[in-house]
C-alpha cells in the first residue's frame, strides 16, 4: 500500500496503459520484420504489466522482501519453459 500518505496517480497510470495498448495495436500491423515486431510488442506488454504491479498492486510501496518474493517465480518460469523446450 502507499506509504507516508503518498497516493499514486491512478488515472495517470490508466492513461499510460491506454496509450500503450493503442500503440501496441498500431505497432502490431506495421510492415516490420517479425523479430522486431515481437520484441517491441513484448517490451510494451512488460512495461504495462510492470505499471500494474508497481502502482495498482502497490508493489512499489511494499517492503523489499515482498519484491523478492514476487520475483521468485520468474526464474522458475524460465526453467519451466526451457525444460519443456528441451523435451519437445
Amino acid at each position: 500500500m502507499a506509504g507516508n500518505g503518498e497516493q499514486p496517480r491512478y488515472f495517470l497510470i490508466w492513461f499510460v496503459l491506454f496509450v500503450l495498448t493503442m500503440a501496441e495495436v498500431g505497432y502490431a500491423f506495421l510492415a516490420l520484420p517479425q523479430w522486431l515486431l515481437a520484441t517491441g510488442l513484448i517490451l510494451m506488454a512488460v512495461w504495462k504489466a510492470l505499471l500494474v504491479a508497481l502502482y495498482y498492486m502497490h508493489l512499489k510501496y511494499e517492503p523489499k522482501r515482498l519484491w523478492l518474493l514476487a520475483a521468485s517465480p520468474l526464474p522458475l518460469a524460465v526453467i519451466l519453459v526451457i525444460a519443456v523446450l528441451t523435451e519437445f
Partner: protein, 211 residues
C-alpha cells in the same frame, strides 16, 4: 478472539515479510498462478514456433479491434478497483461501494464480450477441437490454434468470473458496513487478485492476438 481483534491480528505486520498474514497468503497464491499461466503461455509459444503453419497471422482469424477495446475495459476495471481500495483506506464507505460496483460491471462486460467473441468465432468454424465439430481446415490455422487459444483465454475468463463473484461478496459485506479505514484487508486482497488477472490479460493479449 473477537472479530475486531481478529481483524487487527490479520492486519498486523509480521516480522518475516513485514506484511499481514492474509496478504502474504494472497501473494503466495498469486505466485502459484504465475506458474500456472507460465505453463499455458510457454506451451503456446513452443507449439507456435514448432508448428507455425498451424497458426494464423494476427487479425486473420481473431478480432483484434474488439479485443483491444475489451483490454481497455479490463484496464478501466483495474483503476476502478484501486479507487475502491483508496476510498476505504480513507474511510469513504460510499466511494468503496460505488467503485466496487463499477469494477463488477466492467468485469462482467469483459466476460460478456469474450462470450460473444467465442460465439462469433465458433460460427466461423474456429472451435477448440475442430475434428469434433467437423469443421477442420475451414479457416486459416489448425486444430492446435483453436485448442491453445480457447484453453488460455478460457482459463483467464474463468479467473475473471471468480474475481467477479469474490467482489460481489466483498460488496455485500461493504453494504453491511464491515469495512473501515482500520479494516480493509478483504478489499486489498480481492484487489490484488483482480490486478493480477488484468496483468495476465495484458500479456495474453499481446502474445495471442498481436504476435
Amino acid at each position: 478472539m473477537s472479530q475486531a481483534a481478529a481483524s487487527t491480528a490479520d492486519r498486523h505486520p509480521m516480522p518475516g515479510m513485514m506484511v499481514y498474514n492474509v496478504k502474504l497468503g494472497m501473494w503466495i497464491f498469486l505466485l502459484s498462478e504465475v506458474m500456472f499461466f507460465t505453463a499455458l503461455i510457454g506451451s503456446y509459444i513452443i507449439l507456435r514456433f514448432a508448428h507455425p503453419d498451424h497458426f494464423a497471422e494476427p487479425g486473420a482469424v481473431l478480432n483484434v479491434p474488439l479485443t483491444a477495446f475489451n483490454t481497455f475495459v479490463l484496464i478501466c476495471s483495474s483503476v476502478s478497483m484501486v479507487k475502491a481500495y483508496a476510498a476505504i483506506t480513507q474511510g469513504d464507505q460510499k466511494g468503496l461501494k460505488f467503485w466496487l460496483l463499477v469494477t463488477i460491471l466492467l468485469g462482467t462486460f469483459f466476460v460478456g464480450v469474450q462470450v460473444v467473441e467465442y460465439i462469433l468465432l465458433a460460427q466461423e468454424g474456429f472451435v477448440p477441437v475442430a475434428e469434433l465439430y467437423g469443421v477442420a481446415h475451414e479457416i486459416e490455422g489448425g486444430a492446435l490454434y483453436g485448442a491453445t487459444f480457447y484453453t488460455m483465454t478460457g482459463f483467464h475468463g474463468t479467473h475473471v468470473t471468480i474475481g467477479i463473484l469474490c467482489m460481489w461478496f466483498v460488496l455485500y459485506r461493504a453494504w453491511q458496513g464491515k469495512y473501515s479505514a482500520d479494516n480493509y484487508g478483504a478489499v486489498e486482497i480481492v484487489g490484488l487478485y483482480w490486478h493480477f488477472v488484468d496483468l495476465v490479460w495484458i500479456l495474453l493479449f499481446t502474445i495471442v492476438y498481436l504476435i
